[in-house]
Amino acid sequence: MIGRLFDRAWLLSDSPQSRAQAAWGRRYRLWCDFRANKPALYGLATVIALLACAILAPLLATHDPVTQNLGQRLLPPSTQHWLGTDELGRDVYSRLLYGARVTLGMVLAVVVLVAPIGLAVGCVAGYYRGAADVILMRVTDVFLAFPRLILALAFVAAIQPGMTSAVIAIALTTWPPYARLARAETMTIRDADYIAAVRMTGASSGRIILRHIMPLCLGSLIVRVTLDMSAIIIFAASLGFLGMGAQPPSPEWGTMIATARRFLLDQWWVPLIPGIAILVASLAFNLLGDGLRDVLDPRQG
């Protein structure tokens, strides 16, 4: 079976012999589409590289990320410190690597929490309309209407500070726009002819939502998710000031920028380096997201 996955002819067979063959064939075609999209490939490569950096941080780092040396503050990049040192004389390169663990982990956790919830709420509300719509959207509105910082502060009161509470707090303030968006998508799709056709075959509402509506909403969802990644990193940094999120001295990209921002006029590289890291990660996820959207969207011929 495994061997067959590398057999192009088997995968691309016009008349698959089994369900598995058909499924793998479909996946392979998606991969072929994806491969043709250069920017998406770059994105994928960068994401993999970033994850590798995060996992291999202890091997790649040249210094301990929390060891201070007050005599060597804010040094420019050199052979000793490849990306210079921060305001407490810590090696920025090593902090960046360890920070990738914390930062990417947090972002992924938020996305995994937020996307399905938003999608489900939005699709159900948009499909059923009526009472379900009113109730779900009112709840969404209440959350959406809150200034994010207020919700976050409530969390400080309720939960022990730490990464988990930060992830939950961010998720809590991030899901409503997804629901809104998914609802708007659903409302334009639900009356389409092919949905009516599916309905006529006797498919249940649940099945229609799951198999026919959600996949169509996925495209814009992926775009929003990948776009939100940098926003999540930056919001996490502002939570840091309220005592949530990564506690010092543990490195985290957003906090690195937030604390180093005051050196922008003179030691500009100190805030710039984590900034570039966020930018690269964000760009990679966005390109990857675009590529995924393109191949996953069933509306594309």
């Binding site: 999209n37 920017p39 009113v134 009112r138 509105d141 209440v142 959406l144 209407a145 809150f146 200034p147 994010r148 910082l149 207020i150 919700l151 502060l153 409530a154 400080v156 009161a157 309720a158 726009p177 809104r180 968006l181 609802r183 708007a184 998508e185 409302m187 334009t188 009356d191 495209g219 814009s220 775009v223 929003r224 776009l227 940098s230 926003a231 930056i234 940094a237 957003g254 920028i257 937030a258 921002r261 922008l264 006029l265 805030p271 710039l272 900034g275 966020i278 930018l279 964000s282 760009l283 966005n286 390109l287 675009d290 959207r293 393109d294 969207d297 509306r299 594309q300 011929g301």
Partner: protein
């Protein structure tokens, strides 16, 4: 819309208003209780860190903090119904007056940014979709993601450094130059509008020039979402049957793109725009701080960190209300723009 009888329209209006009221009530409820459980003592702001215990106790009673939570909530609600949001501890003003002062500043900035972001974001998105995977498309995508990924404090400071300090194109921070502060009587609270009402061209231009840089920074940040969503929607729409049909009929490309494809994505785009605009009206705290912009974002944050709860609840209600109205408008837009719904 002839299909709807007046009675149905009325019923729909009633439902809308009541659902708005329910959401607002939920908002008041949650904000109020958050305000009472946050780990910052409101008395600390009023009396400072060194106050004597008996004074603290007296202030507690004065603020009604000694009463059970439901009673406190009831008192707040009854005041609210009379349109009384209470007095802010920080500014010593009525919260209503504070909002009249700070919210227009945010609206002025947010609206300008929104106009920039829409005018640039939508065409870029459409262009990107039409010439998909071209160099232009790549450039637009990277350009907008960069704007979205640079933290606003960094982007704001760099823009001040370049356009204010180096090039001298932009005036300094604040809503208006020092020489013009308090020159025009406040009518709407929007400085540019007030200046026009007063017929004062100097103030108008000065206020307008102060508006440009922070609005551009915010717009650059918001534009990414608009342009990328437009691109994604357009790509779908351009692959749709009606567009293919329209093309087959030999309509001009511009007509196909703008009338058929774009017309079709307008519904979903309305939600995107409403969300973006609402986000801007929440007050961009960091931008406001960097550009010394006295907006609702700063007001809310400073009040929150000082546990000035009347101000926090008042501002939250306002922001929430605006959010809901915008969402409502987006919903109305569905009906108007999309005959199928």
């Amino acid at each position: 819309m002839q299909r709807h009888s007046p009675a149905r329209t009325l019923a729909r209006l009633g439902a809308t208003v009541s659902s708005l009221a329910i959401t607002l009530f939920g908002l008041v409820l949650v904000t109020f209780f958050i305000g009472r459980v946050i780990p910052i003592d409101p008395v600390l702001t009023i009396l400072g860190d060194h106050a004597r215990p008996e004074l603290v106790e007296r202030m507690r009673i004065e603020l009604g903090l000694d009463k059970p939570l439901p009673v406190q909530f009831w008192i707040y609600l009854t005041h609210l119904f009379r349109g009384d949001l209470g007095r802010s501890v920080m500014t010593s003003n009525l919260v209503v007056d504070d909002i009249k002062l700070y919210f227009p500043a945010t609206v002025e900035l947010g609206t300008t940014a929104m106009i920039f972001a829409t005018l640039i974001g939508i065409p870029l998105g459409v262009l990107s979709a039409v010439r998909r995977n071209s160099r232009l498309d790549q450039f637009v995508r990277v350009f907008s993601i960069v704007g979205h990924s640079i933290p606003i404090p960094v982007l704001g400071l760099i823009s001040l450094l370049v356009f204010y300090a180096w090039l001298g194109w932009a005036p300094g921070t604040g809503r208006v130059g020092v020489a013009y502060v308090g020159m025009t009587p406040t009518v709407t609270g929007f400085l540019t509008v007030d200046a026009l009402i007063a017929g004062d061209a100097d103030v108008f231009w000065d206020a307008l020039s102060h508006l440009m840089l922070p609005a551009a920074v915010l717009a650059y940040f918001s534009m990414a979402y608009i342009s990328r969503m437009t691109r994604a929607f357009m790509i779908d729409a351009l692959a749709g049957e009606y567009v293919i049909t329209a093309r087959a009929k030999g309509l001009s490309p511009a007509r196909v793109i703008w009338r058929h494809a774009f017309g079709n994505i307008a519904v979903r785009l309305a939600t995107v725009l409403a969300l973006t605009y609402a986000g801007l009206l929440e007050g961009a705290v960091v931008t406001e701080m960097i550009f010394s912009w006295p907006g609702i974002g700063q007001y809310l944050t400073v009040s929150l960190l000082n546990a000035d709860m009347n101000a926090v609840i008042g501002a939250t209600l306002l922001v929430g209300f605006v959010y809901m109205v915008l969402n409502l408008l987006a919903d109305v837009a569905y009906r108007v723009l999309d005959p199928r719904v």
